[in-house]
Every structure is written in structure tokens, then in C-alpha cells.
Symmetry: C2
Subunit: 223 residues, 2 copies
DNA sequence: CGGGTACTTGACAATGGTCAAGTGTGGTGG
DNA sequence: CCACCACACTTGACCATTGTCAAGTACCCG
């Protein structure tokens, strides 16, 4: 199971053995907190099954999702290498199984095995790239553009299919796009009434891919 | 000179020698492009002296600064470990000297020297933490809050001094805060007229630190 | 001294957030 | 099996924040 985790690809069997002895196996119900911003980190996590959201909270309770963790991905590694405390919160949005790896044993291992270090560098780099895109969207695009980009992303992830399924609630999608459910609802409504998409529950059908691409590229959205 | 770069701290002399033979030394005037988004990366950079901005551009030319690189810092490492192309642009904002390290030689070295890998992991982690904060500010704070946070950051960086010096133009500060010069100018004006700060050119005097902290924490800004 | 850039200020428009009041809808317990 | 409750979502009216456009001022550098 551990050897199937992408982060540990290429490791020797004996080192997998070693890592297994130190780790902990945890179960979470939906909506439970895995880690909180500011906490001192004693290790990092790998999501085995389920779904976890990484997010920031404003003082008055607004939430910005930074990342949705999928099975096989790690999270909470940043304080292992810098700072010591978690920069954001993590909470399950489904019943989830999580492996916890204590800091010391892992740091020990990473210094011995270059492939583990390279895997971790690749993972952090992907994360940087993705956060860079999030900043770009928040700062340089309006909500319709962000939504269009997300729809295209889901479509591409599904092999370019014209019908996609939002895998989260619309409230969470709003939080991921840096807006609120009301605004998202309105924009989905407008896009529907213009014949760009058709929405039914969590299913979205792409009716005019060109128009969606234009929106994603910053084209103005006229009512 | 190379051994003074934080990223290379802890390396053996012979490995420093090795790295020096492969690197290139480049000079840039103010306002020159060091790398462009989407370009295929053949290596990464370390800023020796001067100043570099890392930024994203919207299709219609609006700019969002992601990071201001200081002397000694590296940039452009992400595609070394994931993706292959640069996720953003880099341009000098002062006359600058830059060392370029080709990909192959560096990857070779990093796999042999755990301390180099750890330094790089620490650097990427710091970057992630900082980008996370940028997302938080863009999404969860209004412009006065972001400005207040930046002023406090500069003050803390200067040992808690009550008089700080903006080390960039106000136009660039606007781009760093995810807004435009007009808006920044107005907000600086309001904060001045309320006696929270005093602005003179690039000098800002903190007159009411408590009020600035409140703003930074999300307190509403009443005119 | 001149020219370009940085910055400021004003009037205006629009994006998107707030508040409030619905309308489903799925799951649980009676 | 149905009723009800909680929660997700939608819709409307309103308004705050901030961006746009335009014009004018200050300032630095040659």
C-alpha cells in the first residue's frame, strides 16, 4: 500500500519497510479537521482514500480553498522543511483514510535516498505551479473566467469529454474559485441562459467550448 | 562568491568547484527580461546583485507580482523538477547580475549531495508558504488590509522601526498587492488623512500601529 | 530646461459581496 | 412509507469596493 504512493516511487523495499514501521494509520469521518493553521508540525500526511480540502480562513469566517487533495497525494509537508508550523488548514470532505509520517524518520530517510528527495522536490514544484495559477486567476481574471478555466480543467482531466461532473458541492467550488455560492449560482445561470453550458445538479454539459475558452482567456462576459 | 549563496550552504569545496565550471555569469540592465512564462527551462538562476520581479501578465496587460527576488535568492527552479517550462515571467527592476546554472549538472549534483537537496526543499517550502499568504490576502482581504499587512511586514523586516522605506515604486507596490496605482494612491491618502500613517515620497511613518494591525487583521476601513 | 515617468485626483461604472427570503432535496426517524 | 428537518442552492434588491477613463501635477534625469 505504501509502495503504491507516488511520493515513494522508486524506493528500495527495505526503506519502505522502514517507513512503514514509523507511520500511523488514521481514519476520519467527513468534515473532520486533520491539521490546523499555526499548529506545530510533527510530521506530514498522505491521503490513502477519501478527499481532503486545504484552505485558509479569514477572521470573519470566509474560506479560500487552496487545494483539493486526491487519494495518493501528500499534504502538510511544508513545515518539514521550513517554518515548523502549518500554513493552512486541512479538513476531510469525505470519510478518509490518512497515513501520518513522523518528521524525524522521514527526514532521516530523505537524506539517504536521492530518489525520495527528487520525488518530494517534484511534488513541491507541482504545488508551486498550481498555487501560481491560483494567484493568477484570483488577481487577473474575473469570476466567469475562473469558472470557465475550472470547467475546461475538469473536461481535460476527463479526456476532453463534453459532459463533466463537479466532484464537490457548489459551495465548495465557490470557495475554490475565490467567490461565494450566490455569485457562482448567478454566473452558472447566465452561462446557461446564453447556451454556453447546461447545468443539471452537479452535471455540466459544455455546449459551446469556444465561448468557454474565450471566457477563460479573459474575454468579457456580456449578459 | 558561489559559496556565499544560501542555497549552496554546506556544500563541499570540490562540489562548489564543479558547479562553478558549469554556470554562466550574466548582466542585465533595468527592465530586461530574464525569463518568460512558457519558455522551456534549460536551468535556473541565482540573483547575485540587483533586483528581479517574478510576475504574471493578464491577456490585457495587467501585471501581478508574485515575488520580489533579493540578492542571494534563486528563481526559476520549478521547471527543473516539474513541468519543464517556466510558470511565470522574471524581469529586472534594477541593473542586476545573475548566475545561471544548467539543469543537467545541477540535477546531477543534487542527487549526490543530500544537503543541497535539503536546501532546495527548504527554499521551495518557503516559496509555498509565501504564495499561500499571497492567495490568502488576495482572496480574503481588501486592499487596505493587504497594504497594512505589507507595511507591517516592512516594519518587522526593519526591526520594528516606525519609519519604513518602500523599496519599489508605488506602481510596483500596487501590482504586488493585486491592485492598481490609482487605488493604492487613494488608500494611502485615506490612511494619511486619518492619521494612521504619514507618507512622504517612498517613506512611510507608522503613526498608529494598532490601527494598522487592525486593518491587517481584516478590520473594516471607514472613511 | 525639457520630456517622460510616476503619481494623484475626480467622475463614473461595474463587478461582486451582503442580506434576506425563498425553493428544492436527501436522509432520518416516527 | 411519509413527514420533516437540515442543508444546498437559487433569486432578488441593494450597495461597497475597486477598476476605468481622463486630466492634471510633481519629479527625476539627461
Amino acid at each position: 500500500m505504501v509502495s503504491g504512493i507516488p511520493l515513494f516511487r522508486g524506493l528500495q523495499h527495505e526503506q519502505i519497510e522502514l517507513i512503514v514501521t514509523s507511520m500511523a494509520d488514521q481514519m476520519f469521518d467527513r468534515g473532520q479537521t486533520v491539521l490546523s493553521e499555526g499548529e506545530t508540525a510533527t510530521g506530514f500526511f498522505v491521503l490513502v482514500s477519501g478527499r481532503v480540502k486545504i484552505f485558509k480562513l479569514s477572521p470573519d469566517g470566509k474560506e479560500q480553498i487552496l487545494h483539493l487533495v486526491c487519494a495518493g497525494e501528500s499534504f502538510g509537508e511544508v513545515p518539514m522543511f521550513a517554518g515548523g508550523h502549518f500554513p493552512a488548514n486541512a479538513e476531510t470532505i469525505e470519510k478518509s483514510r490518512v497515513f501520518f509520517f513522523p518528521r524525524a524518520a522521514f527526514l532521516d530517510l530523505i537524506q539517504k535516498d536521492p530518489s525520495l528527495a527528487m520525488n518530494m522536490l517534484a511534488e513541491l514544484s507541482r504545488r508551486l505551479r498550481q498555487l501560481t495559477r491560483l494567484v493568477e486567476e484570483l488577481s487577473l481574471k474575473e469570476v466567469p473566467g475562473r469558472l470557465a478555466a475550472h470547467i475546461l480543467y475538469l473536461s481535460n482531466a476527463g479526456g476532453g469529454a463534453d459532459e463533466i461532473e463537479l466532484d464537490i458541492t457548489k459551495g465548495q467550488l465557490a470557495s475554490l474559485l475565490g467567490t461565494i455560492p450566490e455569485t457562482l449560482s448567478r454566473i452558472l445561470g447566465k452561462m446557461s441562459s446564453q447556451g454556453i453550458i447546461a447545468v443539471q445538479g452537479r452535471k455540466v454539459r459544455l455546449l459551446d467550448r469556444k465561448a468557454i475558452e474565450d471566457l477563460s482567456a479573459g474575454e468579457k462576459f456580456v449578459i
